[in-house]
């Protein structure tokens, strides 16, 4: 009998080593699956909330204005989201290196798949009236913290005075439009010479306006119909308009 065999059989005999019961493995698996589902749901919820806020402020429509504006949109994503993502990836990487049973698991593939799936589900969730409902409920019940998150302004400091607005047109004249944003604030928008030649949108239309702030004036450079991606409460409003409400 070899030394290894003798040692191990002695360990077994003297109960120095014992088998982990099966129920513990089942419990660990269940815990793992529950945690993974919970993490996925949380990630999807916050992902869809960010998309909702970006849509509400009009940032999600920036690609419609041209390739250059996509960068505005990317930079508009809250910095905390980037930091959180990096922190999450770092934690997962450390955990996999330290505790992984296999040391060559393609972590990046798993993370990318999860991110992609979460993003798809986030978009789908944003298309439901869920966030609009939560926001309304928070406002009606004076839940300041939640309302603040839904109404968080998105600055574009990196691009000086360029910004984007989204809202419903209340009135139009030859060189200006008044829009009511979905935060219920009124904004007077002056049309730049480049768009004056085109017919301005009509009252009641849901629009996204890309422009610059000059002094206390907002000058529109481009105006686009926002009905292309109706999100959350906008979808409800559009549905309401269509049904004559």
């Amino acid at each position: 009998m070899t030394n290894i065999k003798t040692n191990i059989l002695q360990f077994v005999e003297k109960n120095k080593i014992s088998m982990i019961p099966r129920w513990k493995f089942v419990l660990y698996s269940l815990l793992g699956v529950t945690l993974a589902i919970f993490a996925f749901v949380v990630l999807t919820f916050f992902g869809s909330m960010i998309i909702f806020v970006l849509a509400k402020h009009g940032f999600l429509y920036l690609p419609l204005f041209g390739l250059g504006e996509i960068m505005h949109g990317i930079l508009a994503i809250p910095l905390t989201l980037f930091i959180l993502t990096i922190v999450l990836i770092t934690i997962v990487e450390i955990l996999v290196h330290k505790y992984s049973f296999s040391f060559r698991k393609p972590v990046i593939v798993t993370l990318l798949t999860l991110t992609l799936l979460s993003l798809v589900f986030s978009f789908l969730l944003t298309l439901t009236p869920m966030h609009g409902g939560i926001r309304r409920y928070a406002e009606e019940n004076h839940m300041g913290f939640i309302s603040r998150e839904y109404n968080r302004p998105i600055p574009l400091k990196e691009f000086g005075n360029m910004t984007v607005l989204r809202g419903m047109i209340i009135s139009t004249s030859s060189d200006e439009v008044i829009i009511k944003t979905f935060d219920n604030t009124m904004e007077v928008v002056y049309a730049s010479t480049s768009i004056k030649e085109n017919p301005l949108p009509e009252v009641g239309e849901d629009v996204v306006i890309f422009g610059s702030i000059i002094g206390d004036k907002f000058e529109a450079i481009q105006i686009r119909d926002a009905d292309i991606f109706p999100f959350g409460e906008y979808m409800e409003k559009r549905r309401g308009r269509m049904m004559g409400r």
Binding site: L9, R22, V107
Partner: protein, 185 residues
């Protein structure tokens, strides 16, 4: 008793016949020692790792899925123990991005000319194996020395079968380069 498969033995050990674990040790001690020897030289370290492997196998026996191959499972534990040891020693880096896994090439299939290649390569491999990175070395050892199939290697290393083929081809190429270099010297 020796006619029983590993999986059948595992089933009986799990039901309480713990002394049968000795048969599994008899079957795998030499194989695992030979496998780990390809990565480490120190005899004491090798014995320690082999002993740890058997302890882990016993402790985690209830988690083994009897519908799968015990052979792959025990090699996997041995592989991880060896890698953990090498990592602790600090001479193996683990890559975050593994392009072989992410983008395996479609042409890396298991070939039918394995026996011929084996004979040629085994002689050359022994001297040059220590010169190539671990991720290629482990595949070459499992395929040529342990004579495991692509599927078994994929199960042990938790990588896709296509990646096994890619790494095997790249490992062979690297070996050939080292052998040619030595010839020139």
């Amino acid at each position: 008793m020796d006619t029983q498969s590993d999986e059948q033995l595992v089933g009986r050990i799990r039901k309480g016949e713990k002394e049968l674990f000795g048969i599994l040790i008899d079957r795998y001690e030499a194989k695992l020692t030979r496998y780990i020897k390809r990565f480490l030289q120190n005899e004491e370290d090798i014995t320690d790792i082999v002993q740890n492997v058997f302890i882990k196998v016993f402790v985690n026996l209830q988690s083994f899925d009897v519908d799968r191959l015990f052979n792959s499972w025990i090699y996997r534990i041995a592989h991880n123990e060896t890698v953990t040891y090498l990592k602790k020693r600090g001479n193996e880096k683990v890559s975050f991005l593994d392009f072989d896994t992410m983008f395996p090439h479609p042409f890396a299939k298991e070939t039918a000319d394995k026996p011929t290649l084996d004979k040629e390569l085994e002689d050359l491999m022994t001297s040059s194996l220590s010169l190539i990175p671990l991720k290629y070395k482990e595949i070459l050892v499992l395929y040529y020395y342990e004579e495991l199939s692509y599927q078994e290697i994929a199960d042990i290393l938790h990588i896709p079968i296509a990646t096994v083929g890619v790494r095997l081809r790249r490992g062979r190429e690297q070996l050939e380069r080292h052998i040619k270099k030595e010839d020139h010297i």
